[in-house]
């Protein structure tokens, strides 16, 4: 009987969705990645290049645009239509706990989003790659999309119950928050579904083709927290749902605008701090890896690398790492051709320290979006010479080394002196409090 209540709720929500014209637009959008995949297939000469292109389009088009837009249409419509025409009372006027209504609708919205995007991803992946590339890449990307879709839906369902202008507010979130602000603030990145989705994909693919600034384990925890909070808020709103509620005023009223302008930077700062704090909290979790070591060390990847080189030659772990309360059992595999090259690495550490924090962040972020290009460009910019070539998004070759931000990559470094080969991988098992 309990089951049948949920099924009835889900069935109604589903029929509501399929009967609206807006959802048809969402389905039409899904044709885009398939069209693009045909282009990629035609353009790319080698399968490796196709993998790189495909992943980039997945990140910049599917994850950054299609996923949030489709989830926005579906998520805000799933309660919105009934709030608008007042039919929601037929559902609410029942002795059914409100959270069950919220959860069912989020699930239906998430399924609908996934039903649109997962086939599109699978088909486009098949067309573009024809089974090439890292094993399980395409299914992993599709699964990450489905997870991200659920998250977005939870968020947008909550939004649709918070304001009548959910579509506008949701668009603002996607464009301003995730698109603009998350690029500059590391903390905001930790509170953005787009980056969760990328992190999920990263966690699900065995090879690291998606440079994600967020670590998958952390992203999973933050995402779960976001989803639960959104559902709780939606439930709360639904419990207090009032018919004929006076239309909520947009917070940017004429009188408030001046105050908003003053408060906005503060809000941004607060959000950034909150996101960083959330990251910090997530850091306490048992899962640890290279990325995290980098963050703990305080300045990002360059320091870690430098520190690793110290460890390799037996000079002991970085004191800061010690101070962080963990010990590195087995450092990254770092094979150095010559001792002189190693010294170079060490000296580079000090250079990296001189970088303002923002810059290091930016580097990592950009590395996340487009690992090779950005990475290479950064090198050129810093050193002013040398060339970087990129093959298939997995290997990099460049003349000299400045910073390495991406784990599980193999780098070939041609130093001034010798060829240095560094492979950073697993094998780092810090013990908490060690």
């Amino acid at each position: 009987m309990r089951n049948s209540v949920e099924m009835t709720l889900a069935g109604l929500a589903f029929r509501q969705l399929t009967s609206s014209k807006r959802s048809l637009w969402a389905v039409a959008l899904a044709a885009l990645p398939i069209l693009l995949s045909v282009l990629i297939r035609m353009k790319s000469k080698t399968p490796e290049a196709a993998v790189g292109e495909y992943v980039i389009y997945w990140q910049t088009l599917t994850v950054a645009v299609l996923l949030p837009i489709i989830a926005l249409v579906v998520g805000t419509g799933i309660f919105g239509a009934e709030v608008e025409d007042g039919t929601l009372t037929y559902v609410l006027g029942k002795p059914v706990a409100r959270w069950r209504m919220v959860v069912t609708r989020i699930v239906v919205a998430g399924l609908a989003t996934a039903a649109v995007l997962v086939p599109a991803t699978l088909i486009s992946g098949f067309v573009a790659l024809e089974g090439m590339g890292p094993e399980g890449l395409v299914p992993a990307l599709a699964a990450a999309l489905a997870l991200g879709g659920f998250l977005y839906c939870a968020l947008f369902v909550a939004l649709s119950l918070a304001t009548r202008r959910a579509l506008v507010a949701g668009l603002a979130y996607v464009v301003i928050w995730e698109g603009l602000l998350a690029g500059s603030f590391g903390g905001i990145r930790a509170l953005s579904v787009r980056y969760y989705t990328q992190a999920f994909a990263n966690g699900l693919v065995s090879a690291d083709v998606i440079g994600s600034p967020l670590e998958p384990g952390k992203a999973a925890v933050l995402a779960a927290v976001v989803a639960v909070l959104a559902a709780l808020y939606a439930t709360r709103r639904l419990r207090r749902f009032e018919i004929g509620e006076a239309v909520l005023r947009w917070p940017m009223g004429r009188r408030r605008r001046g105050r908003t302008r003053r408060v906005l930077p503060l809000l941004l700062f607060a959000a950034d701090v909150a996101g960083s704090a959330a990251l910090g909290a997530a850091r306490l979790l048992p899962r640890r890896d290279a990325d995290e070591l980098g963050e703990r060390a305080g300045f990002g990847a360059a320091n870690v690398l430098a520190r690793k080189s110290c460890e390799r030659v037996g000079r002991g772990a970085d004191p800061r790492a010690r101070g962080g309360g963990f010990d590195v059992q087995e450092p990254f595999k770092l094979r150095v051709g010559q001792r002189r090259a190693l010294l170079r690495l060490q000296s580079r550490r000090h250079h990296a320290r001189l970088l303002p924090r923002r810059d290091a962040d930016d580097l990592r972020q950009r590395a996340g979006a487009r690992p090779a290009d950005v990475f290479g460009r950064q090198v050129r910019e810093r050193v002013g010479r040398g060339t970087v070539s990129r093959a298939c998004g997995l290997k990099f070759r460049f003349e000299t080394l400045v910073e390495l931000g991406i784990r599980q990559h193999v780098f070939e470094v041609r130093g001034q002196v010798e060829i240095v080969r560094i492979s950073m991988g697993h094998g780092c098992h810090p013990r908490p409090g060690g």
Binding site: M1, D85, G86, T87, T89, L92, G93, K94, P95
Partner: protein, 323 residues
């Protein structure tokens, strides 16, 4: 309780036993939207039978109904259904059904599916049977497998009532149920509601037309500008509304002598002679209706126009409030 058919329950259940909480109770209830007071300190109880909630548009009828249905929080006071607050208490929907005023019903569902959905959400053990029974009750069986989107207004209204009735609630709240119904459908609805009331259900019907409550509601609550202006038996309320001072304006060929003749009649309270004609205030409408033609013939004046000046519903109600 859902297996119970719509047949009359045992007589003992018809009238609630003493000491049980009344079906619906409002204690000093107010509601305001921002600065606008929609309901102002209203108290009443409903227990069995049909009650009419009468008032002009915007008087706060819907606000009251929505508070009783748990879709609005009272800003002050208490709204109790079966002795428990209606706000944030979904369990009370087991004994309450609301037929909202808004016409929209899921157009993609058939009437039967709509009733079935309601039954399933109520967790009834045999939702199919309950849905069919509800369809029979509102006499929609012939059209029950057609989409609601293609229903007429009256059919849609009945589908809404079927949805609200499907779990056989003790309390039924209907917001303007007769809107858009033709006289035949109205009669049918009257039958249905009277039938339900005879089984001991508490029914509240909001309307802005007094005559809709004729032969239906024994008890009428009149709401004006958010206040409970009057309450009583239908006949009482109707008498109050008709036998009150009326004002007419009339134009004739000889205003002055007509005015003089009218002034002599006891039903006329005052007369004002102006450029546009005469304004007559009378205490008794029926008496004045007899006097006027007589006076006109006696003075030889020809009547051009006779117009009641304050017949709008609002003025009727505001008269009630002033008393």
């Amino acid at each position: 309780m859902s297996t119970q058919t719509l047949a009359p329950p045992a007589p003992a259940a018809v009238r609630p036993a003493a000491g049980r909480a009344p079906a619906v109770e409002l204690r000093n209830v107010s509601h305001w939207y921002g600065n606008v007071v929609a309901v102002n300190d209203v108290s009443f109880t409903l227990d069995g039978g049909i009650t009419g909630l009468l008032g002009p548009n915007g008087a706060g009828k819907s606000t009251l109904l929505h508070m009783m249905a748990g879709f609005l929080a009272p800003s002050a006071g208490e709204v109790l259904v079966d002795g428990r607050p209606a706000w944030k208490n979904p369990q009370m929907y087991r004994s309450l059904g609301l037929v909202p005023e808004r016409e929209a019903v899921y157009p993609f569902l058939t009437g039967y599916e709509f009733a079935l959905m309601n039954a399933q959400l109520h967790g009834l053990p045999d939702p199919e049977a309950a849905a069919e029974r509800a369809m029979d009750t509102v006499d929609l069986r012939a059209a029950m497998h057609r989409k609601i989107g293609g229903y007429s207004k009256g059919m849609r209204q009945r589908a809404k009532i079927a949805g609200a009735l499907v779990h056989d609630p003790g309390i039924l709240l209907l917001d303007e149920p007769f809107n858009g119904m033709d006289p035949g459908q109205r009669m049918q609805m009257l039958e249905l509601l009277r039938d339900l009331a005879a089984r001991g259900n508490t029914i509240l019907i909001s309307t802005h037309i007094l005559e809709e409550l004729h032969h239906l509601a024994n008890n009428v609550l009149v709401v004006v500008a958010g206040r409970l202006a009057a309450s009583g038996h239908f006949r009482e309320i109707r008498r109050l509304m008709t036998d009150r001072p009326h004002t007419f304006t009339l134009r004739s060929s000889d205003d002055r002598s007509l005015a003089a003749a009218l002034m002599a009649d006891p039903s006329v309270q005052g007369i004002e002679l102006g450029a546009q004609g005469i304004t007559v205030r009378t205490t008794e409408r029926t008496g004045f209706a007899r006097t006027l033609p007589l006076a006109a013939r006696a003075t030889g004046a020809t009547l051009y126009e006779l117009r009641p000046t304050d017949e709008s519903l609002e003025s009727v109600f505001s008269y009630l409030v002033k008393r």
